[in-house]
């Protein structure tokens, strides 16, 4: 049991953070907070990926005399790309929120739904 915890605690932390992020995305009413939750969710997935690539006693994957063990560079490359994708999504999402605010004068999901229902 103890070894299970010491072996896997790093993954569990990122799982916990992912759950927090996902909860914010689904539960919150405010369109801003949904995007922040999405950010947290994605960043936690990045942590999971990076913790997969860690090697015991390893160093950063930059070749230099005197170092022999390196962490796996491939997850780092994937996450670099994923970070960029996540900021791109955030930018588009924020642009949408700003435009929604312009036309509805609110950024609360339930208020917007109420406005739509009134119109019909």
């Amino acid at each position: 049991m103890m070894s299970l915890i010491t072996d896997l605690y790093a993954y569990w932390i990122s799982v916990l953070l992912m759950m927090v992020g996902l909860y914010i995305v689904i539960d919150h009413n405010n369109l801003f907070k949904k995007l922040i939750g999405l950010n947290i969710f994605q960043t936690s997935v990045f942590i999971l990926f990076i913790s997969m690539g860690k090697v015991d006693q390893g160093t950063a994957p930059i070749l230099k005399d005197g170092f022999e063990t390196f962490s796996n560079p491939l997850p780092h490359v994937l996450i670099l790309t994923a970070i960029v994708v996540s900021i791109a999504t955030t930018a588009v999402g924020l642009a949408l929120v700003v435009s929604i605010n312009k036309y509805y004068k609110t950024i609360n999901e339930s208020e917007i739904e109420a406005i739509e229902r009134e119109q019909e």
Binding site: F41, V45, P75, T81, A82, T89, V92, G93, L96, I112
Partner: protein, 486 residues
Amino acid sequence: MHTPALQVIIPLIAAPLCCLLPKSRLAWLFTTLVSLSTFAISVLLVWQVHSVGVIDYEMGSWPAPLGIKYHIDSLSAFILILISAIASITLLGARSIIEQEVSHRKHALFYTAFLLCLTGLLGIVATNDAFNVFVFLEISSLSTYALIAMGRNRKALMAAYEYLIMGTIGATFILIGIGLLYMQTGTLNMFDLHDRMPIIGGFNSVHAGFAFFTVGIFLKLALFPLHQWLPNAYTFAPSMVSVFLAATATKVALYLLYRVFYTVFGFEFSFSTLHLGAVLLPLSIVAIIVSSLIAIFQSDVKRLLAYSSLAQIGYMTLGVSLQTQAGLIASMINLFNHAFIKGALFMCLACLAYSIKTTSCEHMAGIAKTEPCVAAAIVVGGIALIGLPPTAGFISKWYIVLAVLETSWWLAIVVVLTSLLAVVYVWRVVEQMYLCHPIDNIQQGTPVPMMLLSCTWVMIFLSVYFGIDNRFPVRMATMAAEVLMP
């Protein structure tokens, strides 16, 4: 030969060029030429796959698990030619309606976003690298959000936002799935993933990876109950965007389903070890019945067609859930034919949106007198949607019923009965057009431009043509099914 790379590279390079073009008409011409050339390349690819078989292309000349490989087999070629054909026809007819619906200064950017979306969809289909799929998925999704938000109704913004949240969750789930598989195999290439799937140990992560892939793909595919984003997105997007999305976006998600569950996980694992069929079968049936019922009660025809799309997706996944080669073939034929039928119908609505500025059912009363060509097109498209001979829709239904009969007769009855639901909602529109009198005197709308009308009829023609001469889709689907289920 560089054809696999060119297929994706040409629209990718064209996108930044397009956003620098000053004139709207020039941007349209350029985009259309580019998509026609991608169509030419996809024809070439189909021909190559036919004559020499599978084509592999290593990006940067790095061999497969080290670098990224493109792999074009009959399934990829089949979907590539579908996407590029639809894109070309859509764009040819698009100019006038986009000028009406999208503000003039945005045109160059709009066409750029369209090209990027095309790039993303083609890239997903051509690549053989799991992570590369994620990157191209995001290219197509981000541009789709922007395209949907260009609708004139402010609800389009909310629809785009909802799609952004759902789509990003879906893509992130797919990313988690990729991560879990990568963790247990150490590779990202799809074939390599399949070969190195752990035999002993590591089952939990592979199972969970499978679950995350399933949910992510179902979200992108808008399979019941993860479909909430689709009706609003299709209804409020600009007319031409609806045409393109309805005909291609969910089809690419379905392609991803084939690839992930047959190529990466393998048929045995997906269907015997993890019983994907048992999940897909009830979901498909519920999707077909519920969406058809909801479609009957819609007052906006665009939304009606969106719900009908959800039902059609149900037919496609039903084919997969049968776990037979015949079912898989039926699913692919459905995919191909439905793209043309639904594209044609949405194009008819684009004509109406141009002419009478609305797509609501009650305003279509008596439209047969003022716009006879469009009304006739809707009737033919509707017949194809129901699945009556001699249209492509009949071929789809025929193959699905045959495949279903192999397993159980009651399912076949369900398929036939649900087609009757399609009769109801198509009849509602036809009745309104031909038998009702116009409600007021604003009916005399703008005449539909020739280009748009003829492109609509090309689509209608194709959805009838593939009902009479179905050799091409049937042969391609059979070859593709043999690749996936040897």
